[in-house]
């Protein structure tokens, strides 16, 4: 009799614990996170983004008992390299990197080298706001996310010009027109040299147009498509190269360099990827008040960017708490505002509610610095398999930088 009692007690115990497993474990994650310091490795090239993390995310994390320490890197690959170095040294626990701002090729490499914690992001409480059914979220540059990344935000490529120097009617609206424009205005255009993220993305969009559209690149990598397109891309670049800034003999290293060339009047165009356009950049004085945004007629690339947790993170509980915090509607809204960063949402407003949808609309102030989100989303296409990215980088080195 006694034995049966114990057995049934055990049974009920296990069944209740199984039922509340996810809720329970989140409570225990929160408990474990108390007092932890999360080392967040992120590209530090934008003062606006740094400010958002320092003044919005970090104080909110502090309230949850987690200290967020921002570690700036000039390229995300440095963070990936650090984790890889630790793995090589056999440091499989207590690693120094707790969270990485990541997407695309870096995510693919980190995943392939098994450097990331998997299967955690979809069970975060705030994951309910994320449209995990959307392929644009489920896949990162065509590579399955597999619960190893939690979305932070979204972006869309836009071009920046200075209305005091270039008339709106004269703007190039395609890569073909851009070539004509650079021919007429030698030395007034450039882009960051690959492997810079923006430089790569610029060239990939040229590749889309030269190949006759982005749609054929969707899906798995196709070597024959690359073989057909690559020569067109290099021919195009060689044609415009002499008309680029400094005769195409050298390129800026990163977007901040591009912005300073633009603001100093050395070049006439720059790029931005914020959904709120250049509102934050103009507000902080990085770009002049006469700067404006526009897009090409065929559309531009949109994507999701994420945070990931290294497999050996010493404070993975704290990192999960921060990743979850980043998805709260309140913080997402603050991030969308052009007062700070202007980054697109990582969550789906419809999943939060009609009130939030209204707030989103009110936060995005369409105007000289911010394009209509309806226009942006109607002219958006996703980025493609990371192999194309790699090929563009390698090809640029071999074919253009001689």
């Amino acid at each position: 009799m006694k034995r049966i009692l114990i057995l049934s007690a055990l049974l009920t115990a296990t069944s209740t614990s199984a039922q509340s497993a996810s809720a329970q474990s989140w409570t225990s994650i929160q408990k474990e996170a108390q007092g932890q310091t999360v080392n967040f490795y992120m590209w530090g090239g934008s003062d606006d983004i740094n400010k958002y993390v320092d003044t919005v995310v970090a104080p909110a994390a502090k309230k949850l008992g987690v200290t967020l320490r921002r570690v700036p890197v000039s390229d995300t690959v440095q963070a990936v390299n650090k984790v890889l170095g630790e793995k090589q040294a056999g440091k499989n626990r207590g690693g120094s990197v707790d969270m990485i701002w990541i997407n695309g090729e870096n995510f693919k490499t980190a995943s392939q080298a098994r450097l990331l914690l998997t299967g955690w992001s979809e069970s975060l409480p705030n994951a309910k706001y994320v449209n995990w059914k959307s392929p644009a979220v489920r896949n990162d540059f065509g590579f399955p996310v597999n619960g190893a990344e939690s979305p932070w935000g979204s972006s869309q490529w836009q071009y920046v010009y200075d209305s005091s120097r270039v008339k709106e009617a004269d703007l190039p609206r395609s890569f073909k027109e851009l070539a004509t424009w650079t021919g007429a205005h030698p030395g007034r255009f450039t882009f960051p040299a690959p492997p810079n993220f923006s430089g790569n993305r610029f060239l990939r969009q040229a590749m889309f147009e030269l190949a006759g559209g982005q749609s054929q690149f969707v899906g798995a990598y196709r070597p024959e498509l690359w073989a057909r397109t690559a020569p067109k891309l290099w021919t195009y670049l060689r044609a415009i190269q002499p008309n680029l800034w400094r005769g195409g003999q050298t390129f800026p290293a990163d977007v901040p360099n591009l912005y300073s060339l633009f603001a100093n009047g050395e070049i006439d165009f720059a790029f931005v990827q914020n959904i709120a356009g250049i509102a934050a950049e103009v507000k902080s004085g990085v770009l002049p008040t006469t700067a404006r945004v526009f897009i090409f007629d065929a559309g531009t690339v949109t994507d999701t960017h994420y945070v990931a947790i290294p497999y050996n993170s010493a404070h993975s509980a704290g990192a999960k708490v921060v990743a979850n915090l980043m998805l709260t509607p309140e913080l997402q809204l603050a991030k969308l505002s052009g007062n700070l960063w202007g980054d697109g949402l990582g969550i789906d407003p419809a999943r939060v509610g009609p009130e939030f949808q209204k707030q989103v609309k009110a936060t995005l102030k369409v105007g000289p610095y911010t394009l209509d989100p309806a226009l942006l989303s109607s002219k958006a296409f996703s980025d493609v398999d990371a192999q194309y990215d790699k090929n563009v980088q390698d090809g640029f080195k071999k074919e253009i930088l001689k």
Partner: protein, 279 residues
Amino acid sequence: MRLLPFLPALVVTALLFGGGLLLGGLQSLGYAPALGQTALKLDAYRDLFADRSFWAALGLTAWVATASTFLAAVFGTAFALLLQRAGAGGRLRFLFGLTLPIPHLVASVLTLLLISQSGLLSRLTLAAGITSGPQDFPALLYDRRGLGILLELVWKETPFIGLNVLAALTRLDPRLNEVARTLGAGRWTRLVRVTLPLIRPALLSSGILVFAFSLSSFEVPALLGATSPTTLPVLAYRAFTDTDLSTRAEALAISMVVAALGGALVWGYVRATGRGGRG
């Protein structure tokens, strides 16, 4: 026995530098257990030596190191001689050495702010009506011959060599020059036949340091150099930070080449000065 007092220093050097060199060497041979590669092969070196950008980088690195050392040695010696002739006291020497504690990173950014095509000087020439825009100002930075890199290195290293030479000049017995003069040697002859041979050790040792530093300098060419050709350390960094993790072997191979160049140089110096066997 004579080595005993140096033992702690030797152990640290052997462990830190030797260990790092050994690990770097292993990784340049493709040793990366975290990626499941434990076989040692020479692929990285083969790829490297077949890559034209490597030879271009080697050429630029050698040019930048040689030219900056030569110019810093000439200017440094000239300044040292001037300071000594003027009988300059501590204050002037202090001013002369003022650039020494400035980190190269800061000096590079200063160079950038000062002489880029939209830098401070360009703005001054614009305000003075000499130029009508950034495009008129000479493109001294990011150029393929490494002019910007040279400028920064020479500016930073001239006082380093200069102060070393000045120290040697101060120790010089003034009677040597006087004797030479009484024997009818002119100013130029005295400089070439008396002074220069006597300050040669100081010039050589500080020159070697400047050369070795310029050879492996990363931040200066990274900030002031062209995208291509670049120097070996920048090339190594790019390979090391490639998203393709297999190029790390190549990055380490480049670093080993730089280390070998520096090592060969010091070895040659030790041989030439005859300090090899006599401790």
